[in-house]
Amino acid sequence: MNWLTWLGDFFTAADHRSGPDSIAHRVSEHLVLSGEALLFAALLAVPLGLLIGYTGRGVTVVTAMAGAARALPTLGLVTLAVLFAGVGDTAVLIPLVALAAPPLLVASVEGVRGTDPDVRDAARGIGLTHSQVLRQVCLPAAAPTLLAGFRTATVQVIATATVAAYVGLGGLGRYVIDGLATRKYAVTVGGALLVVLLAVAAQLFFALLARFALPPGVRAQHRAR
């Protein structure tokens, strides 16, 4: 059970340095899968969430549905999707999008709803149209909450994408599952470590983004809260 030797073996194994089972390849597979899932989830959830948050209609329904979606077990969705869609990225993307969309949806709704109503009124008062208010006032104000939502969704997707390996796909889950099957625990532990590192890197990325990409006024207000 010598962890350091295990990790040493894992990172230096010839198989893991080049070729289809290499660390670089598996990490990129994992990132691509996670990225695609987040992209589709964002395309679905963010516009919908912004709209719902802005109009204030359907908030309870949407929040309830988002909560319900969190209950759907990824392993179940993945196996079902593969039975119907065959082995491939599509089958795995469906459950991952189902996982990522609810936090993004809730974050978008809450972000817009959190905008000071006086500010919205003032914006309307100076003649901005609804869509202008949404884009120029609510969206920047919602940015911190949205970013937090993205952070949560990203970490969850990165961690859960490991399940894709159960249905024969790639990604870091391959190390976890294959290590178990071949009794090479070093490989499993190495794979798990890489997933954690990836998740931590994602968190750092969003933290940096929040620090540098948010408008200064929004950042200050968010911190003051």
Binding site: V82, I177, A181
Partner: protein, 318 residues
């Protein structure tokens, strides 16, 4: 706060606490399924549990790995033993051979349905025995003294290299030797341990070097059908071979050695009655029969225990 509200709060808190304690009690008494009590369930309408067998003999615990065929075999063994009055407990769906084997050695499990070739490879990766006799002889010397194998059945579930009908027609493939010329263009799929076990063997025995190895595990047959891989390790009793019209290539050089279904037992746990019952099962079980049973489980979606019961009845063993 009014006394009435206080009282109501106390009742709710008390109920939640009681539920919590109750749940924890259930949780802790459930404990380790491999040390007694209820097991991971079988698809028989209820948890595997102690059967009301006759006599005061010790209970035989039948285990199985977590794939349908092994559960079926476990069920056959278990019901055959019960029919002869042996007290049986079932612990099916255990995820890895390592644990199964360890539990057998410690006596928590008594009987396992094993595949003699795979078992030998697990214990001694360097062994070159391929025929049933040689494999069983090697097992007799390799197994620790507490464990032993009973009679092997004629039924085998072997590894294969299979291709789709189209691939077979396209390259005119009937045996694995026919693959030699084309292997460099083909992708091969199978369980994760397949590559580590077989890559060198294929090179040495048949001169095969494949283009790419994909870990397709449970999805190998599907991947063959959908074209994700061109060659795949499909087990010979898998009904998908017939369903998807796959062709299992012949293995003239016998790189896939014998894989007879053989009961692996902890000797101290089985008496003469149990041994006789299991040997009677092995005598009657053949590959065609097993394949037909697997079709009922995997294609007709019947429960392994029901299918096992029918087979035992029709063979006078149940």
């Amino acid at each position: 706060m009014s006394t009435m509200k206080r009282g109501r709060r106390a009742v709710v808190l008390g109920t939640l606490a009681a539920l919590a304690l109750g749940a924890t009690a259930c949780g802790s008494s459930g404990g380790d399924p491999l040390s007694g009590g209820s097991s991971a369930p079988t698809a028989s309408g209820g948890p595997g549990g102690p059967a009301a067998g006759g006599g005061s003999g010790s209970t035989v615990v039948v285990g199985s790995a977590n794939f349908p065929e092994n559960v079926l075999l476990g069920s056959i063994y278990s019901q055959a033993l019960k029919a002869k009055g042996v007290k049986v407990e079932e612990k099916f769906n255990i995820g890895s051979r390592e644990v199964l084997y360890g539990q057998l050695q410690s006596g928590n499990l008594t009987v396992l349905p094993e595949y003699n070739g795979a078992l030998l490879a697990y214990l001694d990766a360097k062994s070159t025995a391929v025929s049933t006799q040689d494999v069983n002889a090697a097992l007799a010397t390799t197994l620790p003294s507490a464990l032993g194998i009973l009679d092997s059945s004629p039924a085998e579930d072997k590894d294969s290299l299979s291709v789709s009908q189209e691939t077979a027609d396209k390259y005119n493939l009937k045996t694995i030797s026919d693959l030699a010329a084309k292997a460099g263009e083909l992708t091969i799929g199978g369980p994760p341990e397949f590559k580590s076990r077989r890559e060198q063997q294929f090179k040495d025995v048949y001169g095969l070097t494949f283009k790419e190895w994909k870990p397709t595990a449970d999805t190998t047959a599907n991947a063959l059908k959908d074209g994700g891989v061109q060659v795949g390790n499909v087990f010979t009793t898998d009904p998908k071979i017939v369903q998807y019209k796959l062709v299992a290539l012949a293995d003239p050089k016998n790189v896939f050695g014998a894989q007879n279904i053989t009961p692996l037992v902890n000797k101290s746990g089985v008496d003469a009655t149990a041994t006789a019952a299991l040997n009677a099962v092995s005598a009657k079980l053949d590959t065609a029969g097993l394949t037909a049973l697997m079709k009922r489980v995997a294609v007709d979606k019947e429960d392994p225990s029901a299918v096992a019961k029918d087979w035992l009845k029709s063979n006078g063993l149940g």
